[in-house]
């Protein structure tokens, strides 16, 4: 029976029934609870009547029905189960959290990122500063279009290990024809490499002229242009460093391969002048590749300069007679420029993160700010043309991102800290870098180990590039270069004295300006004269070997360990770090 039916069937006077109905109804309790209250109040009034009281007196004594209903409701709810109480409290908690969350959301949605620094323009400062007449780009552009650089493939002049063929090896006979086919590119590299600057901005496809795009992407593969057309002009990524294109670097690397091959060919043809011209062009390319100071640009520059040096290292050992003393002296002069090309400067690279931060956060004008809807949406990939719009996700997650992520100031300070540590590490001598774990790597590992800091700095976790190898790559290239300078000095000495010096000290200062160091230990570079048994009788004199001690720090007599797995010219873990001539074992791999 329902509670109101129970009341109706109670036989109580109407006044009592009315007050019971009013109280029970007003409690808005569960049905079973209302029935319980109704039963108790019916009993109350019936007992009162049985005790001889009038219905008016009982109604009067009962008090205010609305107050009774409120108090009964409150008290009855306290009697509900523990589970219900917990769920109620949880519901209240969720409600409060939701109100706060929505309030926070509304507050956060009022701000938007206002990128105020054009980092792309900053990165292009050096390229912009090159006078039109001093720019190599017009030379390259014309030649790259004419030589259809986008079709340049090295397959026919590669060996099974995917390396350029060496003189005398299978496939070498195709090199002359291959280079003749691409002569326009080689010739332009020699002319362009001599220019003071490249003068090509890193940027976006839409900023390039038609000829620029043709030279950089070819006639049918202009994906970047299609992307630029699709991109929304209001996109936060518009003009961002992260979207910046560096299409020239791949082509410059390819041209450097052509120059390397041509150096080798010139050596076999006894054309020392061409060797010098090609080497000079390679250094010019490396210098121009660094014009935009991102880490990628610097690593490409180091790669080109290092490949130029390695070509000379091999060439001095095999075809040194192709070079006159004057040409060797000129090469000695040129090689001294390489060290500057191999330095790592992370300021430009940090622009990438700094730019991302200014697009993710709002700006309070004092270096701080909070995450924004547009920024989170961009970070989630919603700004990428063609990607699904992440607007709802970014919007819903905004307060959560605000609570969990670092503020703009904290993020910027942590980014600065990591880059500072990375720069200090890269500036350390190679022998220290090889033996010490980078502090930045340790810091990032510690950040990853803690959920709080991992979440707080997740942008850095995702976007921060691994910088620890950059300095090693640069300084290994410097070590090869300094050994090459000594090798040139040794050859010049031999030509003047009819023999090699007994010690390296005899070279300074006429043939080398300073005594070279072993970059694997920080001690002086080692030198030994060794009889190479396989040489022809006329050249059977002892030949010099230049080497460092390697990671084990031991002098093993200038022997590259045949079992060493590290590829030359990286520093070996065991055996000696032979820098000149090229270790035989490496050739055999």
């Amino acid at each position: 029976m329902k509670w109101h039916q129970t009341i109706a069937a109670s036989g109580l006077p109407d006044a009592a029934q009315q007050i019971i109905v009013q109280v029970v109804k007003s409690t808005r309790l569960w049905r079973s609870e209302r029935a319980d209250v109704a039963m108790e109040l019916i009993a109350h009034f019936a007992d009162g009547l049985d005790a001889g009281h009038s219905i008016d007196q009982l109604v009067n004594d009962f008090g205010d029905p609305r107050k009774a209903a409120t108090l009964i409701r409150r008290a009855k709810k306290r009697n509900r189960s523990w589970l219900w109480q917990s769920m109620r409290r949880f519901g209240q908690f969720v409600g409060v959290v939701m109100v706060i969350y929505i309030g926070m959301w509304a507050w956060l949605m009022m701000s938007s990122p206002k990128p105020s620094v054009d980092y792309v323009a900053k990165l292009n400062t050096a390229a912009d500063a090159v006078r039109q007449a001093d720019r190599a780009w017009p030379i390259y552009r014309k030649a790259w279009i004419e030589g259809k650089i986008w079709d340049l493939k090295f397959d026919e002049v590669m060996n099974a290990d995917n390396q350029l063929v060496q003189p005398g090896k299978t496939g070498w006979e195709k090199v002359a024809g291959f280079l003749a086919e691409h002569a326009v590119l080689v010739e332009a590299a020699r002319r362009g490499g001599a220019m003071p600057g490249l003068g090509l901005n890193a940027g976006f496809s839409r900023d390039y002229t038609g000829d620029d795009r043709l030279a950089l992407y070819g006639p049918d593969t202009d994906q970047s242009e299609r992307q630029a057309r699709k991109g929304s002009p209001s996109s936060l990524l518009d003009g961002a460093v992260i979207g910046m294109l560096l299409p020239n670097l791949g082509h410059m690397r390819n041209v450097s391969q052509l120059l390397k091959l041509d150096m080798q060919l010139a050596a076999t043809q006894g054309d020392g002048e061409r060797i010098v011209a090609d080497y000079r062009a390679l250094l010019g390319l490396a210098r121009q590749a660094r014009e935009v100071p991102t880490l990628v640009n610097q690593l490409v520059a180091i790669g080109i300069a290092n490949q130029a040096d390695l070509s000379l290292v091999g060439l001095l050992d095999r075809n040194v007679t192709a070079l006159t003393a004057e040409q060797l002296a000129e090469l000695a002069h040129l090689t001294a420029r390489v060290s500057a090309l191999c330095q790592i400067d992370l300021d430009g690279e940090q622009a990438f993160l700094d730019d991302f931060i200014q697009r993710l956060y709002s700006d309070d004008g004092h270096g701080d700010g909070h995450v924004t809807y547009q920024g989170v949406r961009m970070f989630a990939g919603g700004d990428i043309p063609g990607a699904s719009d992440k607007g709802v996700m970014a919007s819903a997650g905004l307060p959560l991102a605000y609570l969990m992520m670092a503020s703009r100031r904290e993020m910027q300070e942590q980014a600065d800290h990591l880059y500072d540590m990375s720069q200090k590490y890269a500036d350390q001598p190679l022998w220290k870098q090889l033996r010490e774990e980078p502090q930045a790597v340790r810091t990032v590992r510690e950040m990853k180990a803690s959920f709080a800091s991992r979440t707080k700095f997740w942008m850095l976790m995702i976007l921060m590039p691994g910088l620890e190898r950059a300095g090693v790559v640069g300084q290994q290239a410097v070590a090869v270069n300094e050994a090459l300078q000594v090798a040139i000095g040794l050859e010049l000495y031999r030509r003047e004295h009819g023999r090699y010096p007994q010690t390296l000290e005899e070279l300074a200062p006429r043939y080398v300006p300073t005594m070279p160091i072993d970059y694997s230990t920080g001690k002086p570079l080692l030198y030994v004269l060794r009889d190479r048994g396989s040489e022809a009788a006329a050249e059977k004199e002892a030949k010099p070997v230049l080497y460092g001690r390697g990671l084990d720090g031991d002098d093993d007599g200038g022997v590259w360990d045949a079992k060493e797995k590290v590829r030359w010219p990286n520093v070996p873990k065991q055996g000696d770090w032979v820098l000149w001539p090229v270790p035989v074992t490496n050739d055999e791999r």
Partner: protein, 117 residues
């Protein structure tokens, strides 16, 4: 004489617990007892009594059962072990309070709370 609401808030539950210490009672019985034994001083409207009973039950100080054997179903309330403990504690508090009030001349030297139900 009716007691002020704030005073009643502290005295009412103790009085109900005390009444139940002699055995289980139903709602109207408690109303009557409170009125009769206190000369109407602690008489409370039923709109206050029943919520108080439900609150005491929620705190585990009293328990209830429904008796359907009589002419009409009635809910009977009884003191729990926890309720007895609470009553003992409250009684001591009231004794101390009345004694203190007596000491400053507000009441007689010793009140008659407890032991007369």
């Amino acid at each position: 004489m009716r007691i002020e609401r704030e005073l009643m808030r502290g005295a009412g539950p103790t009085a109900v617990l005390q009444l139940l210490s002699s055995g289980e009672k139903y709602g109207y019985e408690l109303v009557e007892s409170l009125d009769r034994k206190t000369g109407g001083v602690l008489a409370m409207g039923q709109s206050t009594l029943y919520p108080m009973l439900y609150n005491l039950e929620a705190k585990g100080l009293i328990a209830s059962r429904i008796d359907e054997a009589g002419p009409r179903p009635r809910r009977y309330y009884r003191l729990t072990a926890k309720g007895k403990k609470q009553l003992s504690h409250d009684t001591q508090q009231w004794r101390a309070l009345v004694e203190a009030m007596g000491a400053v001349g507000v009441t007689g030297r010793f009140g008659a709370i407890g032991g007369t139900a």
